[in-house]
């Protein structure tokens, strides 16, 4: 615990940089116009700082345009999963009607052993190359776990004496559920979102890598890794550059999530 400041700050800067670079590339990359002339496949020629890919496209340009799907689909999927699953979980936890709770949660229990792989491949095959469909599929396989997590966290908070005390003070519904229950759920949810986003990035990337997802000529990072890997020995950057972007994002996010988990755990220890 000595010199916590030094130890804590350096990785924060590192992990933040790791996350921010791919994120910026994903958000602003498509607006950058490079004017790179198309070349021949797998060239390491001048004019292409990172060489060309299997279609003769500039790898740097691909890097700038390929993040939107690679990260966007994953982030979108997690957002949707939390929107749906979080809502289900919160409602199930806060309802006084046992049947409503059962109605919301039981079906999810039944879905739990459904292999997410199957769902995603079915959707991917059914709606060829649709980013939206894959995003929704990835979201769908995450809904049951998210719902259960949120419900458990909310239930923990909502059934405790704190809520009783707040009710004894005639605190408003909003005051209780947003002010206290929501805030108590936030800790576990934040920690979970961290890992869930990296998992979603992996899942989306794997689907695209396997050729089940986006069109094989899409500039997406995972697609690039997949399609260009046969040229790995001819022009390594076509594979390594997008791979590094993905890794930077997931690694940075992992580090941030780890830090968050540590923080919440330390807080829990203090309060115990």
């Amino acid at each position: 615990m000595s010199r916590p400041g030094w130890r804590a700050r350096t990785p924060l800067a590192v992990s933040a940089t790791l996350v921010v670079i791919p994120l910026l590339a994903a958000i602003f990359g498509p607006f950058v116009k490079l004017k790179a002339e198309p070349g021949l496949p797998y060239e390491r020629a001048a004019g292409h700082p990172l060489g060309s890919d299997g279609l003769g496209r500039d790898v740097l340009e691909l890097l700038l345009t390929g993040g939107r799907t690679a990260l966007g689909m994953a982030l979108g999927a997690v957002a949707v999963a939390y929107l749906v699953g979080g809502l289900i979980g919160l409602v199930a936890a806060s309802t006084r009607h046992r049947w409503l709770d059962e109605l919301l949660i039981r079906p999810l229990d039944v879905l739990l052993p459904l292999p997410s792989l199957l769902v995603i491949s079915v959707v991917a095959v059914g709606w060829q190359a649709s980013a939206l469909a894959i995003t929704l599929a990835v979201a769908a396989v995450n809904v049951p776990t998210v719902a259960r997590l949120v419900r458990a966290a909310a239930l923990d908070a909502a059934s405790g004496p704190v809520v009783e005390a707040l009710r004894m003070q005639r605190e408003s519904w909003i005051g209780i559920h947003l002010g206290y229950v929501g805030r108590s759920v936030l800790g576990p949810v934040a920690a979970d979102i961290g890992t869930r986003i990296t998992l979603a990035v992996f899942l989306v990337a794997s689907v695209n890598f396997l050729g089940l997802g986006l069109s094989p000529t899409a500039p997406d990072w995972a697609v690039s890794v997949s399609r260009n890997r046969e040229g790995l020995l001819l022009q390594p950057w076509a594979v390594l550059a997008p791979a590094l972007m993905l890794v930077a994002f997931t690694l940075g996010f992992n580090l941030l999530a780890d830090r968050l988990v540590h923080r919440t755990r330390r807080m829990a220890e203090v309060t115990r």
Binding site: G160, P161, V162, E164, A165, L166, R167, M168, Q169, R170, E171, Y180, R183, V270, T271, R272
Partner: protein, 518 residues
């Protein structure tokens, strides 16, 4: 005879803070030495030094000699310390329940210690016998969670005894015990001392110390302020039993035929057919053994326990469960939780949470509410500075008083207090009692739940004795305390006299069946 433990000029520092400051004491075989003092006075820190143990960031100085081995010298703990652990000094921690490995059968834990310290001897059976536990195979094969709280405490004792130590250190062994169980503990410890064991007792329960100790060391802020025989302790005070008064007005809160259960449709009731009534300005005391249903009764009245049948009325009108109460009904009936720490939001300052009551239930402005909160807390001995912190930074006693203030800010007509003095020392208790007395004179009715019969007798006008969810006995405190008519009441009252007069013969343990494992 030489002392088993000789502590000389022991000091402990946490950073620059001095936790223990030049403490001396001895433990003799066959005798009980007690370390007493307010919470935070350094009792645990001093006792752990016998094992050469200390908390994070804490440094020990001075000299501790245990059975001839120096375990702490001027450079802190020595390598000899590891050798005395278990075999020479066995420590029973402050919360023995959590000191048992939930994943191991108790037999495994006991036999492990036997093999380590006394291989080949049958010390386990003997230790269990001394801890008044059966030593059959079925008991040994159970997991800790399959025992009641009191039994768990005795298992921890048995573990310590399995090491066959020469010194037994007991840290606050009586917290949370009802008077009967506490009395059993006294008997067990006296027997052990009689067998030649040296006992170091840490407690702020002065009655317990009076009943056990030959030597008493009083600590305050890490320093010894007095030491000697039990006579250094203040005289036991028997709070005067006030005669019942003011029976004039109509009943304010009434409950008729009240039953409650934790399972749906009233299965396995934990409260059965209770009738009670409280008049304005009066105080109803509720006593009973642990697990008898006192809290459940209180929660029914407060409207928090929804699975109940029967009728509760306020001013003659039906009083529904909390979420159906009107704002006015809500304000008029307030409840103070038994487990206070759990009833505060960890993320907000305590003061805000206290003041919130006045804002929500009495529509006061923010500043006004806060001023009132500060004033009430101050009367209870909690400064605004302390209350501005989040709950985790308050001591148990401070929090208990804050919870009371939180309820009082509603200016309730009925206040239900569930063991609200357990974490308080005598001064704190006096502050609370004084404030509540003042309120009753203004017409507030109290429902007072407590293990401390003396206190109940002092504050209550009428007493209910609850046993297994039923009212076993009721009447004026004088009558119940002096001429108890039921067995439960008799046992509770007799056991409560520990430390005030020579202890009665140890009660048989076989009667303790209330919390058998399922």
């Amino acid at each position: 005879m030489k002392p088993l433990v000789q502590v000389t000029r022991l000091s402990a520092y946490a950073g620059k803070a001095v936790i223990v400051d030049g403490v001396d004491f001895e433990v003799w075989p066959g005798q009980v030495t007690a370390l007493v003092g307010a919470s935070g006075s350094g009792k645990t820190t001093s006792a752990l030094a016998l094992l050469g143990e200390h908390g994070d960031q804490v440094r020990l100085f001075g000299q501790v000699e245990v059975a001839g081995e120096v375990v702490v010298d001027s450079n802190g703990p020595t390598s000899a310390a590891a050798g005395v652990r278990g075999r020479v000094v066995a420590y029973m921690p402050q919360h023995p329940g959590s000191a048992l490995n939930p994943a191991r059968r108790i037999g495994a834990g006991l036999h492990e210690l036997e093999k380590l310290h006394h291989p080949g001897e049958d010390v386990v059976t003997e230790a269990l016998r001394a801890a008044q536990l059966p030593s059959d195979r079925a008991t040994l094969r159970r997991f800790p969670h399959q025992f009641s709280g009191g039994q768990r405490q005795r298992i921890a004792l048995a573990q310590a005894l399995t090491c066959r130590p020469r010194v037994l250190v007991l840290d606050e062994p009586s917290t949370g015990l009802d008077s009967v169980t506490r009395l059993q503990l006294v008997g067990e410890l006296l027997e052990l001392a009689a067998e030649g064991l040296g006992i170091l007792l840490l407690s702020h329960d002065l009655d317990l110390v009076r009943a056990l100790a030959q030597y008493v060391v009083v600590l305050d802020a890490g320093q010894v302020i007095a030491s000697g025989g039990p006579e250094v302790l203040p005289e036991p005070v028997d709070l005067p039993i006030e005669p019942a008064t003011k029976q004039s007005a109509e009943p304010l809160l009434e409950a008729a035929n009240l039953s409650a259960s934790v399972r749906p449709r009233g299965r396995d009731p934990i409260l059965r057919e209770v009738d009670l009534s409280v008049r304005p300005g009066s105080c109803l005391g509720v006593v009973g053994r642990s697990g008898s249903g006192k809290t459940t009764l209180a929660r029914c009245l407060a409207g928090l326990h929804e699975r109940h049948t029967g009728r509760i009325t306020l001013d003659g009108r039906d009083l529904p469960v909390l979420r159906k109460r009107s704002a006015e009904q809500n304000r008029r009936v307030q409840y103070v939780w038994q487990e206070v720490r759990g009833s505060f939001d960890e993320r907000r300052p305590v003061l805000d949470q206290v003041a919130r009551t006045a804002r929500r239930l009495r529509n006061l402005a923010a500043e006004q509410a806060e001023a009132e909160a500060v004033a009430t807390l101050a009367r209870l001995g909690v400064s605004a500075l302390v209350a501005a912190r989040p709950p985790s930074q308050l001591s148990g006693g401070e929090l208990q008083r804050a919870a009371l203030a939180r309820a009082l800010l509603a200016q309730p007509d009925v206040l239900i207090c569930d063991e609200i003095t357990t974490a308080l020392d005598e001064h704190g208790t006096a502050l609370v009692v004084e404030l509540l007395r003042e309120l009753t004179t203004q017409g507030t009715a109290l429902v007072w739940i407590s293990h401390d019969l003396g206190l109940v007798a002092a504050v209550a006008d009428h007493v209910l004795v609850i046993d297994h969810g039923r009212v076993a006995e009721r009447g004026a405190p004088v009558a119940v305390m002096t001429r108890p008519s039921t067995e439960v009441a008799r046992r509770l009252v007799r056991a409560a006299r520990v430390g005030h007069e020579p202890p009665p013969p140890v009660l048989t343990l076989s009667a303790d069946t209330r919390s058998n494992p399922q």
